[in-house]
Each structure stands twice: as structure tokens, then as C-alpha cells.
Symmetry: C3
Subunit: 243 residues, 3 copies
Amino acid sequence: MEIISKKTPVVVNMTNYLAMNFNANALLAIGASPIMSFYDKEMEELVGICDSLVINIGCLDDAQIAGMRVAAAAAHNSGKPWVIDPVGVGASKARTETAVELITEYHPAIVRCNASEIMVLHGTACKTRGVDSVEPVEKARSCAREFAAQHGLVVAVSGAVDYITDGEREAEVRKGSPLMAKVTTMGCCATAVCAAFAAVLPPFEAAVQAMDLMGSAGEAAAARSRGTGSLAVNFIDELSLAK
Amino acid sequence: MEIISKKTPVVVNMTNYLAMNFNANALLAIGASPIMSFYDKEMEELVGICDSLVINIGCLDDAQIAGMRVAAAAAHNSGKPWVIDPVGVGASKARTETAVELITEYHPAIVRCNASEIMVLHGTACKTRGVDSVEPVEKARSCAREFAAQHGLVVAVSGAVDYITDGEREAEVRKGSPLMAKVTTMGCCATAVCAAFAAVLPPFEAAVQAMDLMGSAGEAAAARSRGTGSLAVNFIDELSLAK
Amino acid sequence: MEIISKKTPVVVNMTNYLAMNFNANALLAIGASPIMSFYDKEMEELVGICDSLVINIGCLDDAQIAGMRVAAAAAHNSGKPWVIDPVGVGASKARTETAVELITEYHPAIVRCNASEIMVLHGTACKTRGVDSVEPVEKARSCAREFAAQHGLVVAVSGAVDYITDGEREAEVRKGSPLMAKVTTMGCCATAVCAAFAAVLPPFEAAVQAMDLMGSAGEAAAARSRGTGSLAVNFIDELSLAK
């Protein structure tokens, strides 16, 4: 992806253990330079050399939360864009409290989530069931708009139709394949790709470009895949071939 | 897999770092909804929303063990089926003590292991060498039967011929490919698949169905694979295509 | 790989979370038996049953560092070869201090790194940018030679041309593909493969054989890959087919 690779942004990726390898390969495929760590004692230095930051709460523990606070504060204080993925928020108090604290204290540029997650963040009662969304993306749009406006950030909600808003502007991406939801950490990957674009574009444009690339790559990959195993592989191939 | 996907069970998967991505993709491929965490502070809530639980001791540390106790207790107290994979038990005191404690205190529905591991658990002297089994599965059968009867659970021993017993009933699965042992966390994956089936079937039937699906998918995948890299990918494809 | 598989060495692999699955599959593909753990309470026992050890500092935390000290000491005291991958050394004080301490206290057989990393270890000022090397491998050669001679170990520097030295002898490997740098943990994989060879050959010969196998497999894999996703898969296939 030329817009990324001509800068080769360093993306510090604090993400869950499932996502690390797949997401690092996605970032490398589009021309970014990923670095993965949770270690509180080095996060300030790592954020110091990065161009953008991902915080993904998919596999929390006390040590990770400590590292996330240091990293989010460092990004906020230095004006570097950071993206949060509130994986499974609402499924436990720890997830909800961590996501809310990080967003309200350290102001991410983008919240990249699914429909259930933005509704939990918005405070709307909704049915959460594990880490997969059970709310149609449409219902979540008003929550996303209000949350974006209230917190001065961009919300990118993935679903059959992706929805991106900064509270005023709105965009839709109608691409992709339903099979993408059967590849683990595909959503986390969207978050990482948002962060790579946020290193070279303003947050709203970054999120739209990222979701568009995810959809295009996923659709092309699905067309040549026998099942969900080859979809994951072909998806990285497509990212690495994107102009 | 229709029997799984019509319920879409939430499977909480406390598994080793190697297995997480591959096993999550396997669970998604058969229609389950995986959620992965070790965090003691959220395990009670996560087990509360799950249909079954996996505990895999492949990469232990103190924090994981704390989380495993909370999760196993929550599953036991709420009557939810859980499956243990005693990876490398016998290779260290920490592994042996953790596996024995979890089994005797919190009563899993299924122990999914290899021949060496069930012999260690049974207390039979046997040669353990890292995490790969060096005992033929046949020798482990009497250990499995006695252990199953004594603890009131199902033991599923993988090998060239898989063996499943609840202490009285016995089943064999003669499928698969020797190449499966060359794909990391294939055994852990069998454990995760056992847990998905245990959410919709009684433990003995669940273990038999799971090992049968593993063998069928592995055999079909091996037939179309050039080496062990493509075997891992084709295996997930086969799971995602299984009826 | 017959020279490996006829011994099936147990390789204890303390590596970063990204690398674990891919590196375990690489070790299995060449006929080694990987075991992965960071747990300080079991590292002495695990090193006791291993034939070689990897320490990779790619995703440090306090618990990992504690485990690494126990493992490195156990390997050193029992005369078992161990290999360090100083991932991103120079990017944070924690990485630099950990790498330097482990090398100077516990004397690895091989340092497997990129050009920037050996220059940091050598104390030469050089530009480090995340975990990817920005120095041409040529500039790092004199650093590698001096560092190897001073510490009595082998340094294997990967790059467009790989360079291996024990301070006196030198070897080059001119194989591989530039696309290999776009697959995450390919360098970590070289480190793991070095450790497998170090279980059956002296360190210098082990490093040369390992880098040669990496280059051959990567080159063959690149020739049949559409993008970087299939490259990772084909690379493991090639390793599993290597004689």
C-alpha cells in the first residue's frame, strides 16, 4: 500500500495474543513496521519512536493494563494518534472499566469496534455474548455518532456494512465477505490497519481507508478460498498486493 | 458443523500462547464462538456466559494458574462442562501439580491428552520427553480406563489410533495422518473441539465426535497438502467445510 | 532435515508471543521437538530435559526476564548450547539491559540478530527504529567479528546477505528473498533453527547450516507464493520437505 509504505510508519501494537502474529503480518504486508509489547517499563520509549499506537483489550491482565496506561498517556501527551479496540467490552467489569478509563483519560483518535461494543460503551443496554457481536450494525449507528461527538473521536463499527463517523461526517463501506467473521482477529486486524493509516492520514480518512482496504482484501481473498483457513492466508496475500 | 453451529456455543479457552490463534480459528470454523482469557479477575464472569471451558497448561505461569482455579471452580459450581489438556505433565513439578489439583478439585468432564500424559496422571512410571508423547497409545489404555473410572470423567487419548473411554465404554478412532503430529497445537485443537462438542453432547459422545472430526479433517487435509505448513491451513478449511 | 530428525532434539523456546506458533511449526517441520515456556518455576527442569535453548527478548516483561535468567543459568551450568535473539535491542533500556546481562553472565553459543542489533550490542552508535534493521548488513560485519571474538561466541547476522562469524572464521549465505522480511518472526525463526542445529553441530557450523536452510527454504517458498501470506505457509512446507 503505497501511502503506507512510503513512510513505513512504526506501529506499536498492544494487542491480544491471538492477534499478534496475524496482525503483524497484516501490518508488514501493507508497508508498516509493527512492534509488539505490553511491558510498562518500555512503553514510554516505544511510543517515543512510534508513529501510531494500538491498544486492544482482548486478553487483559494486570500487567497489560499497567502497560496500556503508560502507552496511552505517552501517546496522548506527545499528540500521536492511537486506536483502541474494546474487544468484548461488557463481557466483564475489567474490560468495561479498562476501556472506559483509557478512552476518557487518554483520548484515542479512533475507536474500532463492533456493534455490541459501541452500544456498551455508549451505555445502551444491549445483549453481549462473548466477543462476537449480536447486534446489527444499523442499530449501533446512533450510539456511534453520539459517542464520537461526545468524546471528539472517530468510531469505526465493523459489520455487514461498516460504518465510520466522527459525530458529524459519516461513511459506509459495503465490501468484504461474511466469511471474514469466521477468521479470528479479523476485527483486531482492522484496528491495526486503522492505526497504520492514522500515521499518515487524519483519523476519519484513516478509518475509512482502512475499512475499505479490509473489505476489498477480504472480498478478493474470499473469492479464491476453499474455507476459512485459506481465507486467512489469502487475505494477507491480498494486503501485500494492494497498491 | 451443524450440531455445533446451530447452538453457536461460547467456548472459553484458557490455552497456551501457541495454540490461541489456530484453536480459535478451529472453533470458529466449526461454528463455535471462542473467547480467550487468563485473567483471574474476569474468569468468573466469562465462565458465566460460556457453554464450555478449556484449560490447557501448555504455557503456565503464576497468573494463569490463579485464573485457571477461578475458572475451573466456576465451571464446576455451575455444572458447565470443562475439558483439561495436561500438556507436558510430568515434564515439571508445576505442570504435574497444576493438572492434578485442577482435576481432583474441580472435576473436568474430559481429559484430552496423549499416551505419556495419561500415564503420568495415572501415576505409572513412564518416559516423558518434552511435550511429545513417547509411549504408544496402546500401553496407555489401561491407565486411561482406570483414571476415567476413578475420577468419573472421560479420557480421550490421541495417537495413531485415538482412544476414548469413560471407564466402562470404549471407542477408537482410526483416522487422521501421521503428519498431524508435525503441526503444532494439533492436540490442543482436539481439546478445544472436544469442548465445543461438550457444549452440545454428553462428554463421552462429545469426545468421540470431536476425535472423529479431527481425524477426518486431518486426513482430508493431508491428502491435499504439500508439507506441514499447508496442512495447517487445509485442516482449518476442512473443519469449516464439515457438515 | 535428516541431521535434525535422527536425533529429534528437544528445543526449549522462550520466544515472543508472535513467534511461538510459526517457530514451533518450523522446529517440528525440520524434525526437532519444541517446548515453549517462560515460567521461572519450571525452567530448570525443562532445560534439564532439553538439547538446546532459545531466548528471544521480543516481548519482555518482568516474569519472562526472571524465567530467562533461570533458563540461561541452567543451560550455561550444564554446558547446553543456547542461542539469544536480541530483538529490538536499543529500542528500550529494558531490552538492552536484558540482552547484555544474559550474554555477559550466561554465555550463549550463538547471537542471532540483524545488523542494527549487533551494532547496538557492540556499542556502536547506530540508528535503531523499532524492531526492523535500518543498517546494511555489511556495516555490521566488523562489529560482529569483534563482538564474537570478545565474548567467545558465534554471531549470525541476517540480511540480504547473511553473515556468520566466530571472530575468526567467516561465512556468507547469499540465498533467500527480500519478501522474507515481510513475514513476521522470520528472523526469530532463524534463531530457533540455529538452536535446533546447535543441538547436533558445533555453534559455527550450526549457524551456517541454519542460515543456509532458512535461505533455501525462503527462496523456494517465495518462488511459489502470491504474496506474503502464502509465503509463510510455503516456507513451512519447504522446511518440512528439506532433506
